[in-house]
Each structure stands twice: as C-alpha cells, then as structure tokens.
C-alpha cells in the first residue's frame, strides 16, 4: 500500500501519456473518418473507391501491425524516422479512423432522402447541403458508435507499451518488475483505465444529448446528469483492435 502511494506520481505520468495518445488518436481518427466517410458518399466511383480502399486496408490490419510498420519498416524504406509517439498516434488514428469512416458513411446515408430533396428545392450546393443539413443530422446518429470507438481507441493505446513508450501499461509492468506486487499494481492501472473510459463515455453522452436536443428529441432515459450515467450500450457492432 505504501509502495502504491509512493509510486502514485508515476501512475499519473503513465495515465497522462495514455490520455495524450487517446486524444491525439481521437483527433486524427475523427478527421480521417469524416474525410473518408464523406468521400464514401460521393456520387462518383473514384472517390468512393479511394474511401473503400482506405477503410478495408486499415480495418483489416491491426493498429499494432501498422505501428510496427511505421516504426521499423518506414525508416528503412524512406530513411525517415518518425517519433515513436507520433507513429503510435498515426497508427491508432488510421485504424480507428477506418472504422469511423464507415460510421460516418452509413450515418450520412441514413439521413432521409426527403431532407436532401428539400435542399435541392432550395437550390443548395453540395457543400451547403452537407454542412447545413446532412452532417448536422447525421452527427446525432454517429455519436453512439463513436462512443464505442473512442473507448476502443483508448484501450488500443496500450500497444505503445510494446515499443517502450511510458504509458500506463508500461508503468504498471515496470512497477511490477520493481516490486513484485503484481495484483495491487495492476488493479490500480486497471482502475485508472476504467476511469478514463468512463470519462470518455460521459463526454460522448454529453455531446449526444446536445445533438439530440438540437434535433428536438428528448433524451430517452430522462434528463439530468444522472441520466448520462446509465450503463453503456455496448453495440453488437464491430470491435476494434485493442
């Protein structure tokens, strides 16, 4: 117990790196998901094919494999060495972005055709239609699945432990080696991961509630912050590489 209190700052440092990786990955994954997701709805075969290739390749290869490729193969192939941290964020973002792109694409396609027809009747251009009408409506549909993806991305950050970035998993394993106190050390690490996940889920729920409010829908489980703490709905959706 004393050991844990003594080492508490190291846990926090590890957790902080995990959070940085998560947030960096989320930003990149979000940009990629939006870009390729929208590309996948364009009425021309070329952008759609580009989107399909991106989605299938990076959904098909685990983030860990991509990270290894970026760290070991890329420098040999190009002579260009990425920072490990950046390579990790890139691998996580590319992987989760591919799952996200599918969510974006299907959410855009789920916007009623009548809404698109209304934008035509008002002579909106494609960018106007997307920005003003389609994306704001698709957004509410994307969020629940994004919530699952964000947690999966957070879990996937632990792979950086394998390239010796000092994230929460690395710190836990290091402290275990130092002290031999496997169970308490890992329980603290698990609890911190759990808390980060809950914070992420909570954040996405807030966004979800706001999005639904904007569409004039009332939250299904009653108002108040307590309503946001209902157990997460784990989609029977695809899992992402942990």
């Amino acid at each position: 117990m004393e050991f844990l209190i003594e080492q508490w700052p190291r846990f926090l440092e590890g957790a902080w790196l995990t959070i940085q990786l998560t947030l960096g990955g989320i930003v990149l994954a979000f940009v990629l998901a939006m870009f390729f997701g929208i590309l996948g709805t364009v009425n021309h075969w070329l952008p759609r094919a580009a989107a399909t290739v991106y989605v299938e390749v990076f959904r098909g290869i685990a983030a860990l494999v991509v990270m290894y490729w970026l760290i070991y193969a890329l420098p040999v192939a190009t002579g260009f060495q990425l920072e490990d941290l950046f390579a990790a964020i890139l691998a996580l973002g590319l992987n989760v972005g591919a799952y996200g792109a599918e969510v974006v694409r299907s959410s855009i396609n789920a916007v009623p055709k009548a809404q698109v027809e209304a934008t035509v009747s008002l002579n909106m251009s494609w960018p106007q239609r997307m920005r003003l009408v389609v994306l704001p409506q698709a957004w509410a549909q994307m969020l629940p699945t994004f919530g699952n993806l964000v947690v999966e991305l957070m879990k996937a950050t632990a792979v950086v432990y394998l390239v010796s970035l000092h994230d929460l998993s690395w710190v836990a394993d290091d402290l275990r080696r130092l002290s031999g106190e496997t169970i308490p050390v890992f329980l603290v690490a698990f609890a911190l991961y759990y808390l980060i996940a809950q914070a992420l889920i909570f954040g996405v729920r807030l966004l979800e509630r706001r999005a639904n409010h904007k569409l004039g829908r009332t939250p299904p489980s009653g108002g108040g912050l307590i309503g946001l703490l209902r157990p997460p709905a784990v989609g029977a959706k695809v899992g992402v590489a942990k």
């Binding site: 009747s121 008002l122 002579n123 251009s125 003003l132 004039g216």
Partner: protein, 278 residues
C-alpha cells in the same frame, strides 16, 4: 379566385413545340421510366407565366413525377423540358443538347421552389433558420435581411410568433405553413405544390389552403399543384389537367372539368375522390 385573370390560352391544348415563346414551362415529348415502368409517356404540355395549373388523377398517373422532374429530383428519360424558351432538362453543347450538368441545373432551378407532402423541414434548425439559411447561403442575403424576410413570411402564413420554435414543437399544419414560407423566401417564379395537405389531419387542411389562396391572390407566381382538394383546385387554378397512365386524359377550365367532365376516366376519378370524403 375570379377566372377573369385567366390567361387567354387556358383552354388551348398547350401542346406547342419546345420553342413557344409565350410559355414559361414546356414539356416536349417527355418520357419518364422507372425500370420497366413508364410513368410519363411522351407527354406534351405547357404552362404560361403566372398561370396556376392543378394536376389531378389517380395515384401512379405521373402527376408527382412532373413536379419532381421540374425540381430536378428525377432525371428525364426521353424528351425535353424548356423553361422560358431555354432548355432545362438539357443544356446546349456544340450545336445540340446534352443532359444538363449539376452546375447548369443549379443555374436554372433558381426560379423554382417546391413544397412537399411531408413538409421536409430541417429538424436541426429552428423555424427562423429553416427559412433563412437558403437565402443567406444560396442567394447571398445578409443575415439581417434574411431574418427580416423570414419574419415577414411567417406573418403572412400566420406564424409570426413561432419564429424561434423548433419544427418538432409545431403541428403538421404549422410545419407545412413554415415550409411554404421557406419556399417563398427564395422568391421563386414557379412554385410546385406536391399534395401539400395529404399528410395533414383534416382539421389542419383549411389553414394551409388559406395561406396558399392568399399567395395565389397576392402574387403572380406560376403554380403547379398536385392535390386531391378539389374545392381548392376550383378556386385557385386557371386550368386543370386530368392525368391517367402517364398522359393527359382531359384538360380544361376548372368549372368545366369539375362541372362537366367529358372523359369517362375523369368522371370516375372525380366520383371516387368525392366518395372518399374530399
């Protein structure tokens, strides 16, 4: 609506060729097929500027398809549509005509507005924004101008106090009146009304029709209206086209069509509509 302002050609068959200059809208041998199903079969008709035309006929007779072709929501299979003497479904290239591109259509459909059966208000916007966004982004109006225009139009449709409401807080009839205001905010020359009261509870129909009567009386917008509201059609339109199987079965002044239909198909259609309580 007094028939006095009826254009002279009301009773003309309206099947002039594509170059008729006094015509605003001309359908020239228009064919529309969905797969094997022919919805419009070599259709010819035309509409004069300021004319209000009601399209009636059994469901599946192609009336709505005409509006959707004019709104460019469907692509024409064969034939041509002309607006104001210029090609609409097609665009000139070289010496001939090719199917219109999206940018050409954007140019041409500026003059056309549409009100839908299901209102199709944007649920992610307040009433004000529903009306304002297109004038601001498409026509380039300032936000203040557009907001002012929204307020005026809402006053016109009797919903001046609902400007900051959310569409889901409105009844179907109110939503439809907002949709009319939204279409009018674009100052269209041609307004397409696609069964605008069919989705409404009976007690809400009158309010919407009153608004449209008002629009008809106070503006010179050309209107094409698909409806089952025969009383409204009689009051407002200069001409009624009876459709059946993708072609015009009969056309004429509303008094003649409703009072003294000549075609058997028109008679039986009108009878069935009356029996259904319209």
């Amino acid at each position: 609506m007094p028939p006095s302002d009826t254009p002279e050609n009301t009773t003309a068959p309206g099947v002039e060729g594509g170059s008729a200059e006094d015509k605003l809208i001309v359908f020239d041998q228009v064919v529309k097929r969905f797969g094997d199903l022919t919805v419009l079969d070599h259709l010819d008709f035309s509409v004069a500027p300021g004319e209000r035309v009601t399209l009636i006929g059994p469901s599946g007779s192609g009336k709505t398809t005409i509006l959707r072709l004019l709104m460019t929501l469907e692509k024409i299979t064969e034939g041509h549509i002309w607006i104001d003497g210029e090609p609409f479904s097609h665009m000139p290239r070289g010496s001939g005509l090719v199917p219109a591109s999206e940018s050409y259509l954007r140019q041409k459909r500026k003059r056309i507005g549409m009100v839908f059966q299901q209102f199709n208000l944007f649920p992610n916007m307040t009433v004000r924004k529903n009306i304002m966004e297109a004038p601001v982004h498409v026509l380039g109006l300032s936000r203040d101008e557009a907001s002012e225009r929204a307020q005026e139009l809402l006053d016109l449709v009797g919903l001046g106090d609902k400007i900051d409401a959310h569409p889901t807080q409105l009844s179907g009839g109110q939503q439809q009146r907002v949709a009319i205001a939204r279409a009018l905010a674009m100052r269209p020359e041609i307004l397409l009304l696609d069964e605008v009261t069919s989705a409404l509870d009976p007690e809400l129909v009158a309010g919407v029709l009153d608004v449209l009567r008002e629009v008809a009386e106070t503006t010179d917008i050309t209107m094409l209206c698909v409806t089952h509201e025969m009383g409204f059609a009689r009051d407002v339109s200069h001409r009624v086209l009876m459709f059946d199987k993708g072609q015009i079965a009969e056309e004429g002044h509303p008094d003649q069509i409703f009072g003294d239909p000549r075609e058997e198909r028109t008679k039986s259609f009108l009878k069935s509509v009356l029996e259904n309580g319209h």
